[in-house]
């Protein structure tokens, strides 16, 4: 099974590497490389762009939580830097009965950080807990296709699905595959999210909200010799400029994101290291296909043609994003670089004429009230204004935005999706009739059947074809206006070694030393 997913590391990394190899500038002799192996010990100070919401994988829906999870919990399967599924706590697996039965074989000799043995019973305990409606777990929908779970022995889990589901393994590399110690879950009950216990390389010590969260080395980690760091301290810094400042001043050693305007100066700063890779996520507009005027497909397509994605990219992302035309980013194996539509005011006006409103129309655009989103909404407003489409911008806070988007109480909104490794996770719930993420209330039987076939097929090349066909229809029907694929850009100080950037943006510290 070969999958081609280029991991693009930018000039920044090459430049940094070259500078390091050349011994850097004479003034900063301390940055000269000492080519020795990993060193055990030390504290890594990490800047993150917002505070964690909960540290329980079963109760988490915030993206930021995953930064902590990836180091506290070892997922059952792991992702490679090119987003391929690899064995981890599951050493191997078999898929039988036409893709409906998954037999998962668990690693022996693994213990949770509190000494509880990691085994099939623990996995089942977590999944049964998440599937119980009374617990209101955001993971429940991930396990909706599960019809039964069983554990023939302590290291084997058999999952029977109601229908074939090709993305199931991919879920096990995410929060559904992050297993908590059943002992700790029972001990702490509803406050387990403040006392997480996993099997990962680092264990939880302390979390003072809005201030810091501390992890320490797990001395009993199953992978002998790992991790290297003694301690990790996460500091939430909500102002992007301040997060970058904290790295520059040395208050933190690594940051999870870099403001777009600072990326080019970062590349020329020899006292910092950085890397950039296409992310899995994208920014898009959702158009409610059940209310006028966006009920009319020609009006939606007019918007699609009238937006200059290159200009938006230059203006808002300083050229570091990639224009988007589908839900599958360049980091995904389902990405098709040839799928695009032209930017053309003429074509937009033709569509407006077809829709019966040649002079344009007006609609309300909802978005969160962060400066970046408001800027992007203003840019869209001015782009669409050129063809006579009047946009009324409505910035609201994120909870209101989500409530209105999910409730269908909107005309158009500007949202984003952080993206998941399997294309099914980026399309099925978004595009199929009645799908749980289908905020535009889009319905197309052809798309429904293509995406269903794609999740039931086992061959990646066949799946890719289905995704392509579906994406082409979705692009032209425009329930979503895809705008940009957002990159992952991370930066660190030269004394941080062994760090690797991933398209999912999660900072894995198992192999990092200082």
């Amino acid at each position: 099974m070969t999958r081609k997913t280029p991991l693009m590391i930018t000039a920044a990394t090459f430049l940094a590497a070259t500078l390091a190899a050349c011994g850097s500038s004479p003034a900063k002799s301390s940055t000269a490389p000492t080519k020795s192996g990993p060193v055990v010990g030390g504290t890594l100070n990490v800047g993150i762009n917002s505070d964690f919401v909960t540290l329980s994988p079963a109760m988490s829906s915030a993206l930021i939580d995953r930064q902590a999870f990836i180091n506290i919990f070892d997922p059952l399967l792991k992702l490679s830097p090119t987003m391929q599924i690899e064995p981890n706590l599951i050493t191997h697996w078999t898929i039988t009965n036409g893709g409906t039965t998954y037999t998962l074989y668990l690693r022996h000799g693994v213990k949770f950080q509190d000494g509880t043995p990691f085994n099939a019973a623990a996995v089942l305990y977590n999944w049964h807990w998440e599937m119980n409606p009374a617990n209101a777990s955001p993971r429940r929908s991930n396990l909706a296709l599960v019809s039964s779970l069983s554990a023939p022995n302590a290291h084997e889990v058999v999952v029977t699905l109601k229908a074939p589901f090709a993305a199931f393994l991919s879920l096990l590399a995410g929060r559904t595959g992050m297993i908590s110690s059943p002992t700790a879950m029972q001990k702490w009950g509803s406050s387990y999210g403040l006392h997480p216990v996993g099997t990962g390389p680092f264990m939880f010590v302390q979390w003072i909200k809005n201030d810091h969260m501390i992890l320490k080395r797990n001395p009993n980690y199953w992978q002998k010799g790992k991790p290297y760091l003694n301690k990790i301290v996460y500091t939430p810094i909500t102002s992007p400029v301040q997060e970058y400042n904290a790295l520059v001043t040395g208050q933190v050693n690594i940051i999870d994101s870099v403001p777009y305007q600072d990326v080019s100066s970062l590349a020329s700063n020899s006292s910092l290291r950085s890397a950039q890779t296409p992310g899995l996520g994208y920014v898009d507009m959702e158009l409610n296909t059940t209310v006028a005027p966006l009920k009319n497909v020609h009006n939606r397509e007019a918007i699609n043609y009238a937006i200059n994605r290159q200009a938006l990219n230059q203006l808002l992302y300083f050229g570091h994003a990639i224009p988007a035309y589908s839900q599958f980013s360049p980091a995904s194996w389902a990405y098709n670089p040839n799928l695009k539509i032209p930017f053309s005011d003429t074509l937009a006006k033709q569509q407006l004429a077809k829709a019966g409103n040649p002079n344009g129309f007006s609609f309300n655009l909802l978005g969160d009230n962060s400066p970046t989103t408001v800027q992007e909404m203003q840019a869209i407003q001015s782009e669409l204004g050129k063809v006579g489409i009047k946009v009324n911008i409505q910035p609201v806070d994120f909870t209101t935005l989500l409530t209105d988007a999910i409730g269908g109480n909107y005309q158009a909104d500007l949202l984003g999706w952080s993206g998941r490794p399997d294309p099914d996770q980026n399309s099925y719930a978004f595009d199929t009739t009645g799908g749980s993420f289908n905020d535009p209330r889009y319905s197309n039987s052809q798309v429904d059947s293509l995406l269903l076939r794609a999740r039931e097929a086992t061959s990646q090349s066949v799946r890719k074809q289905y995704y392509n066909q579906a994406a082409t229809i979705v692009l032209h029907q425009a329930p979503y206006i895809f705008l940009e694929y957002t990159p992952v850009i991370q930066a660190w100080s030269p004394n941080v070694h062994g760090f690797k950037i991933y398209p999912d943006g999660l900072m894995r510290f198992k192999n990092v030393w200082k």
Binding site: A136, R140, N210, S239, A246, T403, S436
Partner: protein, 314 residues
């Protein structure tokens, strides 16, 4: 005096109740539901309904309010909808940060405002007055988030004199604690300087023309004594009033300053509670902050009596 304080304290109760009603209504009028914060994009109608039930948000608003008030009267501010932490303990852990920051900001503002105000009034329309006026104008006009980023750029990023953000508790390191508070304190103090020094100047200018000042001078009191004992003391009442009124504004400034400097204080607690629709945390903190403002006003009234012995509360 004691009776006066007691009466004022009793008067706090209806005001506090009003604050409760307003906060409760405002947050419930705002669209959005904590269930969406917890469930995220995965929120299905069924999941939201179940979570609402679990959190007691499915009951009518009036009955929710009744339950809440009853528990507040029992001294229980409830617990966070997100992680179950008690609101009282959340406030207690956040309070020292905000309290220290506010006290330092007021102290710094007085340290600058008193001399500049007095000098400006004593030498009106000279360069000293102009400098003090310019300072006041800047303090009043510069938005604090901009000032914060500017100070960080100059003193933290470029000169490396102070940390750019973060917090060290006093019991861990006194110097570290003060070091981390230097920039936020300046940001918070500057608007206070502006208004305090201007009010003091205006009032003192008027007082210095009073007959009793001339009498004092005629009696041969030294100029320092004339200005400080006869002038400033009589000009202080409006200054005290203004500082008291500023407590409310200070708490507003704290919200922004704490966010920019990543300080784990009350301001951040409130902001996050709003974004997450964490009703109990928001109601509890706003109630607490309202009480602080009310008590600050009571303190101002008591200070009047101390500043001006002619004022007596009976």
């Amino acid at each position: 005096m004691v009776l006066f304080v007691l009466r004022r304290l009793v008067n706090l109760i209806p005001v506090a109740f009003l604050v409760l009603i307003v906060t409760f209504s405002l947050i419930h009028v705002a669209p959005g539901n904590p269930a969406y914060t917890i469930l995220g994009e995965q929120a299905s109608p069924t999941a939201v309904r179940l979570l609402d039930q679990k959190m007691g948000l499915n009951h009518p608003l009036v009955s929710q309010f009744g339950t809440y008030v009853a528990s507040v009267l029992h001294g229980n501010l409830g617990s966070s909808l997100l992680d179950g932490q008690s609101v009282t303990s959340l406030i207690i852990t956040r309070l020292p940060v905000t309290l220290e920051l506010s006290v330092l900001a007021v102290a710094l503002s007085l340290l600058i405002a008193l001399p500049t105000g007095i000098l400006a009034a004593y030498r009106p329309n000279t360069w000293i007055d102009s400098v003090s006026r310019l300072l006041a104008l800047l303090g009043a006009a510069i938005p604090n988030f901009w000032l914060a980023l500017l100070l960080v750029y100059v003193f933290a990023v470029t000169l490396r004199w102070a940390p750019s953000l973060g917090w060290v508790p006093l019991n861990v390191s006194v110097l570290g604690n003060l070091g981390h508070l230097v920039l936020p304190t300046i940001v918070l103090a500057l608007p206070l300087v502006a208004i305090t020094s201007r009010v003091l100047r205006g009032e003192l200018l008027e007082v210095m023309h009073r007959i009793y000042i001339q009498v004092a001078r005629a009696k041969g009191v030294k100029e320092w004594g004339v200005v400080m004992h006869h002038g400033v003391r009589n000009a202080l009442i409006p200054v005290v009033t203004v500082i008291g009124l500023q407590v409310g504004g200070l708490l507003g400034g704290v919200v922004i300053t704490e966010s920019i400097f990543s300080l784990p204080g009350m301001g951040q607690l409130v902001v996050n509670a709003i974004f997450n629709r964490d009703y109990p945390v928001l109601q509890g903190s706003v109630l607490f902050m309202a009480l602080v403002v009310l008590l600050a006003n009571l303190a101002v009234d008591l200070i009047y009596a101390w500043v001006d012995p002619r004022i007596r509360y009976n």
